[in-house]
Symmetry: C2
């Protein structure tokens, strides 16, 4: 499988444990955040992104996904009431005549709108694009108001859990490929969450808001979440405690079996359906060889309103420093789930298209990788130039222009300094500072003899070759390196 | 040089002349335009775009450019008064608290803002991204309110015309690579345009609006442009006629020489500067071997306010059907110019950074290529899947899951149908309709013998190979094909 290959796996894993123990403030990037909560991406950042996105997209393509794109803005009415508590964070466009528009908040709702609008019943697609949310920008956590999402989704009526298992396989392949260190994927099912609420005695009108509280368990302690549910959301304390017993459970397929036997949960039809699907899912994950990466976790709830079945979230772990200590979660880097009702909300007749998908938290991954490279003092080349066309003499602009055009026409990546008479030292320094490996040098002597010199920047060796063999010689050297 | 390679060059050139004679309505794409003037991009369209953008970006990289990105929206005040008559077409965001924001209108102004904000004095960058304009969507011309731009710019103080000549070289390389047929690049200089206005007697207050009228000469006849200038913009008829004499001139470097001798134009300092630069430019273009593609055209004005020096625009030509007929221009597919004052507008102290750049009209190019493919009935594969894992028997889901995970882990692009017991015929049809070249088949007999069958979809040949050699055998076949 392709890997990022910026650093050897072991070095990265070791570094991660170090990094994750640093106070958060050290993770602040040296990027100017605009007053509007967005930022520019420098050439250095673009190189890192390009490598990570290439790896992600090539995994999506390996699983047979097609690309597609939707506009940055949608009709406002299309987006409302799809995101639960997040809906207030949508960017609206000013009413300049015409329909009311909002910037997209994720890529999932536009995908569902696309399927319904084009009456597509079956599709496996990926989508890489920007989304916008009016959140308080918390730069420490690498959150901006504009960010990139990478989604993979499978739409269509299929046999249970086969596409769902593939989504988890994809998450594993990507997280392995990126070499981010150990990770774990928590899974649960919305029907189990709802069933759990029902048997614990949560009134149905409070399901959605209690679900939002539970969703905070990866960032808040149980006692604080309990306080929010009881004091702020008016849940009876004994109900909260019953939930507490469940949400502290996590484990493998044996926990699924155990929950089948749970005296309260086993009375709930929805929960039983969810448990049955999870059991089948674990069977497929075992065949895929990834079951040990997956943890059935009753505290996983996922904030978005549109999920209807299995849900999952991948977190990076850092190796405990002391034996026996609990692995510490460092935040979600990928997540997703099944949403069988969303497409039907956009269809005039309510025709449903079941869907399951995942989103890779690439912004968080970009930050981790950038931070590591900074710690290691690792530099990336921001250009791919292979050859600098240079001269030691004055009045050689014409020769340089003729030479470089020949190289470009042969597909060779070449630059020259935009000066009539640059100094040779300036030209060689430019190669060293930007990482250009070869210099083609033409001067009086060379011109007279019908040759050019090729200089290796690393070894400083120079050889003269016939002018007419230049392109072939450079191509030979580049193919060898 | 890399080429698109969807069709042989000759076939394309021939087709283009045909296509361009069809009435415009036949160019309407079978794409649903949303009421908001935007559209979704289907997987077929994405494949074409990906190929074209790959070619464009690899040319930018060949010339040593770095990538970068800026946010979709900017502070409104940053964008106002940069675009001349286009400013009214900006999308504003609703005031939801905080600064007033607008969606970006092009990639050039954000680039200039980036340079000034980060005090960058020198940079060669490319940027591929979406921009938004509230124009009446004219689908016939392939214009939408959201569209993609591909820009390349060189910022910095260099010796005259060297970066400018490289921009024209890049336009030639890209248009040659895309095999769009014959093209011509018109060049002029804003200082020549202004000088021409001055010596013809246009009042300085009318320079900008008369410039906009002149810019329409590629779509309107001279007499209509003259009417607009005289009747609507209040220009004296004799002034208009003097302009008319100039804007009908176009030619090569000899026209530059001729204009140096022009009794009126040669009296204008600005015009002389522009002519001097054009002369030098043609010298460099000759060394690059592209001078015959370039036409000095006094009717070229370019609408945007920020240009200060050389300006250019590439148009596709279609071969005249009758000998001696004038080549017919079919619209701009790339354009750009020099803007030495824009960065200074963003710098608190007004420090200038001279810039020159170009923008490839990729939306127009996408439309031309899509239209050609439709005419030829050419299909593109929307996935890259190499292998389908199939079975002729019931209850082979487990085997298929194990097999496909092995292929994915080896980096092989593989799919399977998401059914417990799909029919073999359905599986083979899926390969044919989606272009998958190989099928791996596992059934009862194969399982018993420890083999799998590999079937070539094209030849229908099947061979049994040992199960443990599967990955190696597939990799061998894929590397050979």
């Amino acid at each position: 499988m392709s890997q990022l290959g910026l650093l050897p796996r072991r070095a990265w894993t070791a570094l991660l444990s170090q990094l994750l123990r640093l106070p958060c403030s050290s993770c602040i990037q040296a990027v100017r955040c605009h007053s509007q909560g967005t930022r520019d991406l420098s050439p250095q950042q673009m190189v890192v992104r390009e490598k990570i996105l290439d790896l992600v997209v090539s995994c999506f393509k390996r699983h047979g996904a097609m690309g597609m794109d939707t506009p940055a803005f949608e009709l406002k009415e299309m987006l409302t009431e799809k995101y639960g508590e997040g809906s207030g964070l949508m960017y609206d466009l000013k009413d300049q005549g015409g329909e009311l528009l909002s910037l997209r908040y994720d890529l999932t709702v536009p995908f569902a709108r696309y399927l319904a609008m084009n009456k597509v019943k079956k599709m496996k697609r990926y989508h890489v694009g920007k989304v916008w949310r009016r959140e308080s920008p918390t730069i420490v956590q690498g959150r901006y108001r504009e960010f990139c999402q990478c989604d993979f989704d499978i739409a269509g009526q299929f046999d249970p859990m086969i596409p769902d298992a593939e989504c988890l396989k994809i998450m594993c392949e990507i997280l392995n490929g990126l070499q981010l260190g150990d990770f774990l994927i928590k899974v649960n099912d919305r029907r189990i969450v709802d069933g759990m609420f029902a048997v614990c005695g949560v009134p149905e009108s409070k399901f959605s808001t209690i679900c939002s509280s539970i969703d905070k368990l990866d960032k808040m302690a149980w006692k604080d979440v309990r306080h929010e549910m009881v004091a702020k959301k008016g849940l009876a304390p004994e109900v909260a405690d019953r939930i507490g017993d469940y949400v502290q459970c996590h484990g493998g397929v044996s926990l699924v079996e155990q929950m089948f036997q749970d005296p309260r949960l086993s009375q709930n039809k929805q929960a039983l359906e969810g448990l049955g699907d999870l059991k089948l899912l674990f069977e497929y994950l075992t065949l895929f060889g990834i079951a040990e990466k997956i943890s059935f976790d009753l505290s996983l709830a996922r904030g978005l309103d549109y999920y209807t079945g299995v849900i999952y979230e991948a977190v990076l772990l850092h190796t405990p420093t002391q034996a026996g200590a609990e692995p510490l979660s460092v935040g979600s880097v990928a997540a997703g789930g099944r949403y069988d009702g969303l497409v039907g909300m956009f269809d005039p007749k309510g025709h449903k298209v079941p869907c399951v998908g995942l989103s890779i938290g690439v912004e968080r991954i970009f930050n981790i990788v950038e931070q590591r490279m900074k710690t290691f003092g690792e530099k990336v080349r921001t250009t791919e130039t292979q050859v600098l066309v240079a001269t030691p003499h004055k009045n050689f602009l014409q020769e340089r222009l003729k030479l470089i055009a020949e190289l470009w026409d042969a597909g060779i990546k070449a630059e020259m300094l935009y000066k009539n008479n640059p100094k040779l030292l300036t030209q060689l320094h430019y190669c060293e500072s930007t990482g250009i490996p070869l210099v083609v040098i033409v001067g009086e002597q060379e011109l007279k003899e019908g040759v050019v010199k090729i200089r290796s920047v690393a070894s400083r060796e120079e050889v003269a070759i016939k002018r007419e063999n230049l392109v072939a010689e450079i191509q030979k050297r580049l193919s060898e390196s």
